[in-house]
Symmetry: C2
Subunit: 519 residues, 2 copies
């Protein structure tokens, strides 16, 4: 991962001509380069005596303090994170990066952090977009990044139960390659897939683009091994049970504040023989939403189901390489089918009949395949926009169907009012349930003199519009530091006390990812 951009530098580049023309005309551009990486101001490295103690636990070659390594473990990949690092602000860098080999070394490192009162930030893929990697350092003797990069094994595949045990440091492609060699797949493909990690998926409740077919990541997790200051927690002996509260559901979403996940048992499915993606046109967002709801409530779902609103359709955001190009108009829906030939044919037939009856116009496979080809490319587009002085960011929420239009309208209005006219607010739905759906907003505007304050105000306005209108602060981006105040409002004071009680019992000295999640 690039230190100040998304992904692989070879994949990056300036805006395409059509996209630049769109942005330059509607928003305006100005050359806004990042500083030189050597000029990013990091924290002081950890003191030598502490480093020596860490080296005794994991070996000296796995305790790193060089500028480049620490720079690459500084914060996550939200737009505020990018703005800060591009300006040279590396103040949230870890004071050392430590790479344990196994569960026992993680237990030992946690014990050491408790004794030395050093804050510990678990690091998987580094793709948090909610400030989940920016620990509060006040009151601590230092901050270490616990890099899970050596937790890269597929431990077990149980083909009878269709489960697999994965180590948390595996990034999406590596996990899929190991599983694929056994003929199985997770089917979890969020936009961050190429860089995010298995452990991160679990502790943030990630949801992927194929969630209609494979399910959210938290629904794929059946077991967890967690290293905590109190010792090892092992959960998950069954698909589901009635043995009291489901503690797996407390670890999922905990973002390293209760412990460090060191193994994840997941559901797997056979590698699909066929994968095919199509596009549809609906007259408007309301018609498309009704169609999605009908599919979800009929139990007739494709593997991928995504609907762009009119604005997103107009600028072709679903196909990043064609942004600014000609649009078909209306609202674009993507449907994808994965599985055996027979299963794909049957699903496609049923979905096609329903969508047609609900006013959809089938547009064939070209648009769907274009979406699939560009599905992981969105974040590169953001970097290109930041380069030309355009602030671009995403936000997402989820609510029940009956409240969806109200939340959609409220969030759009709040963001537009905050950022002013000349801002783009686009939306799509990409995760559906019987009872409701997500809303994913993409926002672009001309950077103000203080873009961090500019975005903070817009984000606060949008967050208030979500939570105060009965929606959740996040469908799949987790809480981190950025959503913490809104989480408190969402779960109320009793809910906050439940989280604090668990936190204080498991981590009484508060060294695990301090400042994150717990209000």
């Amino acid at each position: 991962m690039h230190w100040s951009r998304w992904g692989d530098p070879a994949e990056a580049g300036p805006l395409a001509e059509s996209a630049f023309a769109l942005v330059d005309g509607f928003i305006g551009t100005s050359d806004t380069p990042a500083v030189d990486p050597a000029d990013v101001r990091l924290s002081e490295p950890l003191a030598a005596d502490l480093l020596a103690e860490l080296a005794e636990i994991v070996g000296p070659e796995h305790v790193l303090t060089d500028h480049d390594t620490r720079l690459h473990r500084t914060r996550g990949k939200s737009t505020p994170d990018m703005l800060k690092i591009r300006m040279g602000d590396g103040s949230d860098s870890p004071d050392a990066v430590v790479r344990p080999a196994d569960h026992d070394e993680v237990i030992a490192l946690i014990g050491w952090c408790v004794r030395r009162h050093v804050a510990l930030v678990p690091f998987g893929g580094g793709t948090s977009v909610v400030g989940g990697l920016a620990a509060e350092r006040d009151g601590f003797a230092g901050v270490i990044s616990l890099d899970l990069i050596r937790f890269d094994k597929l431990i077990e595949v149980d083909r009878t139960s269709m489960t697999a045990v994965l180590e948390p440091g595996l990034r999406g492609p590596a996990a899929e390659a190991l599983l694929g060699a056994e003929g199985v797949t997770l089917g979890h493909f969020p936009q961050s897939f190429e860089y995010a990690s298995i452990g991160g998926f679990a502790v943030t409740r990630s949801s992927g683009q194929s969630s209609a077919g494979y399910g959210r990541f938290d629904s794929l997790v059946v077991g967890l091994r967690v290293a905590t200051p109190l010792g090892t927690l092992e959960l998950g002996n069954s698909p589901a049970n009635a043995a009291g509260p489901d503690l797996r559901e407390l670890v999922m979403g905990s973002e390293g504040t209760f412990g460090v996940v060191t193994a994840v048992r997941v559901r797997v499915r056979p590698v699909p023989v066929v994968k095919t993606y199509e596009s549809w046109q609906f007259a408007g967002f309301a018609e498309g939403v009704t169609a999605m709801r009908t599919l979800a409530q009929s139990g007739v779902l494709p593997t991928v189901l995504r609907l762009s609103d009119e604005n997103e359709t107009a600028i072709n955001l679903a196909r990043p390489s064609e942004v600014g190009g000609e649009s078909a108009g209306g609202c674009l829906m993507i449907t994808g089918y994965e599985g055996t030939r027979a299963a794909v044919d049957a699903k496609r037939l049923a979905v096609t009949a329903l969508l047609t009856s609900l006013g959809g116009t089938a547009l064939g496979t070209e648009g769907g395949e274009a979406w699939a080809a560009g599905r992981f490319h969105g974040p590169y587009l953001r970097d290109s926009l930041l380069d030309v002085g355009v602030l671009a960011e995403t936000m997402e929420t989820v609510t029940f169907w009956s409240n969806l239009d109200h939340v959609y309208t409220s969030v759009k209005a709040a963001v537009t009012e905050s950022l002013g006219e000349g801002s783009l607010v686009l939306c799509h739905i990409s995760h559906v349930y019987e009872t409701g759906a997500s809303l994913y907003f993409t926002v672009a505007t001309k950077q103000a003199d203080d873009p961090l304050a500019q975005w903070a105000a817009a984000k606060a306005a949008a967050s208030a519009a979500m939570v105060r209108n009965g929606a959740s602060i996040t469908h799949h981006h987790a809480v981190g530091r950025d959503h913490k105040p809104w989480l408190a409002e969402e779960i109320g004071p009793v809910g906050v006390e439940m989280l604090r009680a668990v936190k204080q019992r498991l981590d009484p000295t508060g060294v695990l990812n301090p400042g994150v999640l717990i209000p």
Copy 2:
């Protein structure tokens, strides 16, 4: 509900001739009647000054201390509960029964219990089979039963989102009648359906006979309102989200130890137009299990799926009115289909093709309809057995498919060894998942001189065989007091500390259902 038997006395009766002959021949019988209800020794009623204070909160007509009312709120419906009450032991009776009208009165009652240090046992349907209603009274000024009988309303149906808000005191049939008038159903039909309550389903993680089609109850819950000593907890603004740990999953399974659930938002589905049940024969349990697993992992599931092992098939337990009658042999599978005509036809076609290809022989609808007709009758059979000195009880567990046969064999062996030859140990599977399934055991044996000790030993042996072989202590019966030691083993010391932390924060004086759940 009868004070010492299941359900409606009009439905009860002696064993059918064929069943009596079977039991008398294999186990042996002896007349073992219950005491007269007036002779059951209850606790002392609550002191008059305390009763007067309760009357100020809920009104004097809703504070009851008469023998009959308290007798009917004494313990639940496990076989040990039945044995004790039949012998005249009412020592776990509440000292008063209090019937609040609404959430605010529950909050007030909880506050009063904290101030007066009186234990509070929430009472829904009274059908716990794990000791969930037998609070520990030591150290408290008394025990009250908080009867939710006045929480009997359907508060809201949201037909767009397909959700409904139900009050927790609604029993299964009343809830279905109210929902049915709106054209929707929960589809939750556990064996306790006729008497168990909505609140009970939620706090015990109940699972119904149609779980393959409608899902477990915890998967149907999307929102909860809970009265706690710290105030009101409101959870559930969306189908799913990433806003930290899912606190709904902490309330579900909590059996009144964290608070009292006063409203439940659930998923609902359209009332099925067609309901049809069939039976199948498989050569043996292993073949039937493979067929079930194939269905679950293919995503081709009927609404009801149930497989009896050879023993259960031989005595016709799936059809209580025919116990002891002629059996077809092999292993009996029940498949049920509910939905629209088209959906039922499509599912039935797909399931029939798969089951046939996996060695199943279709037996038509007669056996399936007989199962459906007798599906809630099992508990009456137990009463008739207790009357003739036969101890009968059920136990259940859940594990992954690859471990299922091992757990099945281990539990059967443990129970048989504990109770001795001449005991019946029957088993069926009635809840399947992609990764595993439940095992439900029915046990019958000649009562020893101390049947409570006799059963305690068998239960301990079976529980150890479950948990030590990697299965859960319970798939859908919850923890109560009976499973508490095994829960501690199942979730380990760190898991226990998580539960204790939440308990101590929400209920620092420990008045909520003391002795239940929390190890």
